[in-house]
């Protein structure tokens, strides 16, 4: 080995231990998993081509979970963005001792383990819970946990838990907008609406793309709360992709599991690549 080669690749020695583990626990099993998705059985199975994919896409439980997951992402990501941007803008207008205190409050839910809030949410949204206590006196008595309304319960919990994350990203995005842009706009007598549409929004675009990506990833985590709150077979309006996969884990249905995994990983990869490309273009 010549000296130049050693000099170039010395850094690799630091990468090596982590990379080996990364291969053993991530890359290699991913490859196996993709391979399994084309076999009738993992051990001694024969090659069945796309059969597993076709049968998965005809499985009503899978389709229900897929539909609900997409609906939830489509609903939660924009709502979360609007609210977190709003809070970040509000926080940008105040200063002094109150500001870090407010930031702390919005960050709190992020660190609270899901398990410690389950009982509270049950008591809050339960048939005779806190929320219905207020609504009943106004003449309503909705069923939150076991009807279509469960979607709203999920959205509430998701926002409570994840607003803080996006808020921090937006705060740092907002603070990176040069102050002279705003000063120039003020000199020209631009309206607040115009300032927001012409300066704030365009400058926030790179941040927004990242926020979308992180929110999509985080929105999968709401499964934790659904599962702890409503078990493995919740109302069909909140039966998620993850319920389907989780329930197939107990039957150890490898063809279904690996096929669903491959499809999900592929979809996420396309989304991530698309968004990262978009982010490069806007920044």
């Amino acid at each position: 080995m010549n000296k130049k080669f050693v000099g170039t690749h010395k850094g690799f020695l630091f990468v090596l231990p982590g990379f080996l583990g990364f291969c053993v626990f991530y890359l290699w099993p991913f490859v196996i998993s993709i391979g399994f998705s084309f076999l009738s059985r993992p051990v001694g199975g024969e090659f069945v081509g796309l059969y597993n994919y076709i049968s998965l896409l005809q499985n009503p439980a899978y389709l229900l979970g897929l539909r609900n997951t997409i609906t939830f992402i489509g609903l939660s990501v924009p709502v979360n963005m609007v609210f977190s941007l709003w809070i970040a803008i509000l926080l940008g207008k105040i200063s002094g001792r109150l500001k870090p205190l407010f930031v702390l409050v919005f960050l709190l839910p992020l660190v609270i383990p899901s398990g410690s809030m389950v009982f509270f949410w049950q008591q809050f949204f339960g048939a005779n819970g806190i929320l219905n206590g207020f609504l009943y006196s106004a003449g309503f008595y909705p069923n939150w946990l076991n009807s279509e309304n469960a979607r709203f319960v999920l959205l509430t919990i998701f926002l409570w838990k994840n607003l803080g994350f996006n808020m921090v990203l937006f705060m740092s995005g907002l603070s990176n907008i040069p102050a002279d842009y705003y000063e120039a706009a003020a000199m020209d007598g631009a309206s607040r609406r115009a300032v927001f549409m012409k300066i704030t929004m365009p400058c926030l675009m790179p941040t927004t793309v990242i926020v979308v990506l992180m929110s999509v990833i985080n929105s999968f985590r709401v499964f934790r709360e659904v599962y702890l709150l409503m078990g493995s077979h919740p109302h069909e309006s909140v039966y998620m992709l993850q319920h389907f996969m989780n329930n197939n884990f107990f039957a150890l249905n490898y063809p279904r599991l690996t096929t669903a995994t491959t499809l999900l990983a592929f979809a996420m990869m396309l989304l991530a690549l698309g968004l990262l490309k978009l982010q490069k273009r806007v920044s």
Binding site: G7, H9, K10, G11, L13, F14, V15, P17, G18, G21, F22, V24, F25, Y26, L27, W28, I32, S33, I87, L90, K93, I94, P100, F102, V105, L107, L108, P109, L110, V111, I112, P113, G115, S116, M117, V118, F119, F120, Q123, F124, N128, G129, I130, G133, L163, F165, L169, I210, F223, R224, Y227, L228, L241, Q242, M245, F249, L257, T261, L264, M268
Partner: protein
């Protein structure tokens, strides 16, 4: 919008955010009887006589009598609870420590490695990092079966140690170290290991704090992996157990929840900036 109005809006939002936590905290200091009275909504004979149709869970923020009884029950009288707390620690501690060590090495390697195509390899890390947990679980399960470590904590711990997120976060944060620092050390004839320990490490304090906090939060709250890998209920972490305690003894649930959440809360109070830094660094740039 004026400053005052901003504060009013923020105050309203903050109150809403705090409500679940405030109720959990204050209720943890109530007596068993009071908890039972508040959270039992079935109608008594007297309700029926009085013509009350439905009873609801009230919002009670001030205990009628402040007591540490719940905490004593949870921490002293019920050794099972402490055992479950220890389970959570046994999963979280190794992941936090070893993930940090592995990520530091790998991140430094990626920084100092001069191979032209290293970014392609790094990109693989990013793609895996962006996978939602559910997409990673099946591969995790397959490899755990092959290595014979499913049904044990190792099935959760190993993937945690080699998770790509730490490498990504620390490399981001290492990028902030001026190139001149490395140059100067190399001119003085310092080896890579020397540079790693004496040049890089001292400047990585906030990156290290941010990563260990984020990893801690993630694994303290482990649910999905535990459901799949741990079938023995005595080995469950607290997160999974707490979701079932409500069916049995509701008089303990609030104190148990408080004990469970106090660790990440304390960490947040001590290192709010670290968490913010960590979130900012997670934004891919």
């Amino acid at each position: 919008m004026g400053r005052k109005l901003c504060i009013v809006w923020l105050g309203i939002l903050a109150a809403g955010f705090m409500l679940p936590l405030v109720i959990t905290f204050t209720n943890a200091f109530m007596t068993e009887t009071e908890i039972f009275l508040n959270y039992n909504t079935s109608l008594s004979v007297f309700d029926v006589i009085d013509g009350v149709e439905r009873r609801f869970v009230p919002v009670r923020l001030v205990p009628r009598e402040i007591t540490l009884g719940q905490f004593r029950a949870v921490l002293v009288d019920q050794p099972a609870f402490l055992m479950l707390l220890v389970n959570s620690i046994r999963i979280t501690a190794p992941v936090v420590v070893f993930n940090l060590a592995v990520s530091l090495l790998t991140a430094y390697g990626f920084t100092s490695w001069k191979w032209k195509h290293k970014e392609i390899l790094f990109f693989v890390y990013i793609v895996v990092m962006l996978m939602p947990l559910q997409a990673v679980l099946v591969p995790n399960f397959i490899i755990a079966e092959r290595l014979g470590i499913s049904q044990s904590y190792w099935a959760i711990i190993f993937p945690g140690i080699f998770a790509p997120f730490g490498t990504f976060l620390l490399r981001q944060s290492m990028g902030a170290i001026p190139e001149a620092n490395f140059e100067a050390a190399r001119m003085d004839g310092a080896g890579e290991i020397f540079i790693f320990i004496f040049v890089v490490m001292p400047q990585m304090k906030s990156g290290i704090a941010a990563l260990s906090m984020l990893t801690f939060i993630e694994y303290w709250n482990v649910v999905e992996q535990a459901v799949i890998f741990i079938r023995d209920y005595r080995l469950e972490p607290l997160s999974v157990f707490l979701s079932r305690i409500g069916e049995g003894n509701i008089a303990l649930i609030f104190a148990a929840s408080v004990v469970y959440m106090i660790f990440p809360l304390l960490w947040l109070f001590l290192g709010q900036e670290d968490l913010q830094k960590g979130i900012e660094l997670s934004g891919v740039r």
